[in-house]
Point group: C2
Chain length 416, copies 2
């Protein structure tokens, strides 16, 4: 892709009405565009990163037997009324709207109810279980105070997985698999070291739910972390009794700010009872299905990665979610020979199916190009100029040292 | 995927409140699930087909220099007020809703306004043009009479591309490229022969827009088709003057019902004037950008393919969008040897990365399995039973003849 024609240019101005480094860098880098507070378009660079995050999560969800589907945004009120979650006094973040015939519908905040209803048409016998389904779907949450860009948005893509099991034992086995899958995801996304399995309040059917909290000064949550044991407790359940139960000692815990990047939640029979999702077991007895839900916000994850992976010049993307592999910068492009060289290198890299953003601008100073490359945070920066003499000056975003390298060697490095 | 655990089972019942063969087969086959009239979830089989359609369209949009992004569903009213399309009296299919602070927002019916506004921050010089952007994004249209399942829905994924050009000449060149890309898409989707470039009304800035209309009895539109010249005229502009201008003769035209699967629309400067999207040309003069928009509804395309590609037993998917390549049916599974054989074949096909739906159900008759296979319409049906003696009885969905073939030969056929 030629930078001269990329939709989403860098901006110099600080975004005054936005708080936090991730939203600053993501807007200034041209990854996202603010439509309204809490409502952001994904520009080409941002969409590329989001899609890479999605693909990593998808692989791990398929690996734990998740079947992908896509539920709808427009919600029939009926199952929500049955579960008691339709009224704004119960769920205070609904967006609601009217059909032409005057009947009220909601915009999805989550999907327990419609999915439970859908599966009640499918599940009747123990032979139909277990079932695990997931989606990457747009959620709408009418946040009174959307905050910090993608960290708390009104509209965002969420990966939500739901588990449907025969009994508590099977549920707990799956819950553990999901937990491990989540840990893998944070590792693959480069935030594993800072992300803690955190005990949080569990609702009616389970003493605890689990959050995955990533340590970050700009986080909204307060957690108490045992860094040796690699677990944490959310402030909301932080008391002597809980600590005792979890075998944690107050003196081993540090208070930290953190971002909830994911959560896993045992739902028990709350929704299957409300919506009649039952099965007949081997003895012919009717039983409710045991459910769980497992969420990851894609935008929030992307923002959290930026909160952790940056310096004062810009973003430093982990290599596997870098929007492009290489940021190719052409300098001295008024020199015909240099111009031809860099164009040839660009073609050659494309032929080798290496993903490149090519800064081909002629009217921009080297300093500005370097600053833009630092802001965008693509893993490899490759400079071609009068000085490089047909070769490439290569530097990784997170290293200071550059080296001069031949095009052939460069391609070999990238193909590794 | 094992059919026994697939979410989305076949149904026998005719859907009484739905009109048209596509919605009947798609619901009965477990491809889609009705949440509300005009609002359908994509179940795993439906999502697989939709994703294959999306991938074909994406390739052709990238081939005509489209940059992919994702705009938002929630719409800031401001640019719509400037263009005059905010009021329900002008656009009568808006869904609107309220933020917590009481301000009204809309749900996207289309994206000319927000995109024009976004690009006005990016485009200033002739050097910034041309730009072509596209997305696969959920649209919301408050249809008073949603109809025939995916053919006219209230919520649906749309591919919309927008072109931004320097002048009329460049615009027309691109418009022609987009037209050719669309023709390629219909061909790749297997409906090229029945899909006609159709002249329709053009609005303020152009005499005509162009629809792509696919002949179908269940279609909502009436068109007049010259089958030799492969063009058509929509009833709305069908008059002597237009026929003369297009060089068409009344006697060569047939009246047909058709489904509008796509449209391409010259927008001129309507939105760039309203929203101040201008550039400075080489002489330093300020000029408005010339725009065009280019839409394809993904669900409607999927439904149209079913309307055309079916028989009285079910769907016949074109091979490149078949949800799986092979529908493997195990019969006589109570026989241990047969059961082992078919499980081995399933593993072997998976190892060879062949996509398979495996009907592993034990409690279902062969007749039901064959009926389900016909309904689902997967390209290859492979039967393993007592009779097949370690080999496979292979039949294509659109052929009557089957043949016995070794597993190795089968893999070779599929890998071609």
């Amino acid at each position: 892709m030629r930078y001269s024609h990329l939709v989403g240019k860098t901006k110099k101005e600080i975004q005054k009405d936005e708080v936090g480094i991730s939203v600053q860098y993501l807007i200034r880098g041209g990854f996202i565009h603010k439509e309204l507070a809490g409502v952001y378009a994904l520009l080409p660079l941002g969409l590329r990163v989001a899609n890479k995050i999605i693909e990593i999560i998808r692989e791990e969800m398929v690996a734990i037997d998740g079947q992908e589907l896509t539920m709808t945004a427009i919600q029939n009120p009926e199952p929500w009324k049955k579960s008691g979650r339709w009224e704004d006094s119960v769920v205070d973040i609904w967006f609601k709207t009217l059909l032409k015939n005057g009947s009220e519908v909601g915009l999805a905040t989550t999907h327990e109810e419609p999915l439970t209803k859908l599966l009640s048409q499918q599940i009747s016998s123990y032979k139909d279980l277990p079932l695990y389904v997931f989606q990457f779907q747009t959620k709408f949450r009418n946040e009174p105070r959307p905050r910090s860009g993608l960290l708390r948005a009104r509209e965002f893509i969420m990966k939500d997985l739901y588990s449907f099991d025969l009994d508590k034992e099977e549920h707990e086995k799956y819950y553990e698999r999901a937990k491990q899958a989540y840990i893998k995801i944070w590792e693959r996304l480069g935030i594993g070291d800072q992300t803690y399995l955190t005990f949080a309040s569990g609702g009616t059917f389970s003493k605890y739910s689990h959050e995955f909290q990533t340590l970050c000064e700009n986080g909204e949550d307060t957690i108490y972390v045992d860094k040796k044991k690699k677990i944490a407790v959310n402030k909301e359940v932080f008391n002597d009794e809980v600590l005792k139960e979890l075998g944690l000692k107050k003196e081993d815990l540090e208070e930290e700010k953190a971002i909830e990047v994911g959560n896993i939640f045992p739902l028990g029979t709350k929704y299957s009872d409300a919506l009649g999702l039952t099965f007949t077991d081997e003895k012919g007895e009717k039983k409710p299905v045991i459910m769980g839900s497992y969420g990851i916000g894609i935008g929030r994850t992307m923002a959290t990665i930026v909160e952790l992976k940056h310096d004062d010049k810009g973003i430093i993307w982990p290599e596997n979610i870098s929007p492009y592999k290489v940021h190719l910068i052409g300098l001295n492009l008024d020199d015909e020979k240099v111009n031809k060289t860099v164009e040839d290198i660009y073609s050659k890299l494309l032929e080798n199916k290496i993903s490149i953003l090519f800064d081909d601008r002629k009217e921009v100073t080297p300093g500005e190009k370097f600053a833009d490359a630092d802001l965008l945070g693509i893993t490899y920066r490759a400079v071609v100029s009068l000085k490089t003499d047909g070769e490439i000056e290569l530097k990784k975003r997170d290293e200071d040292k550059s080296e001069i390298i031949s095009v052939v060697d460069f391609i070999n490095i990238l193909k590794k």
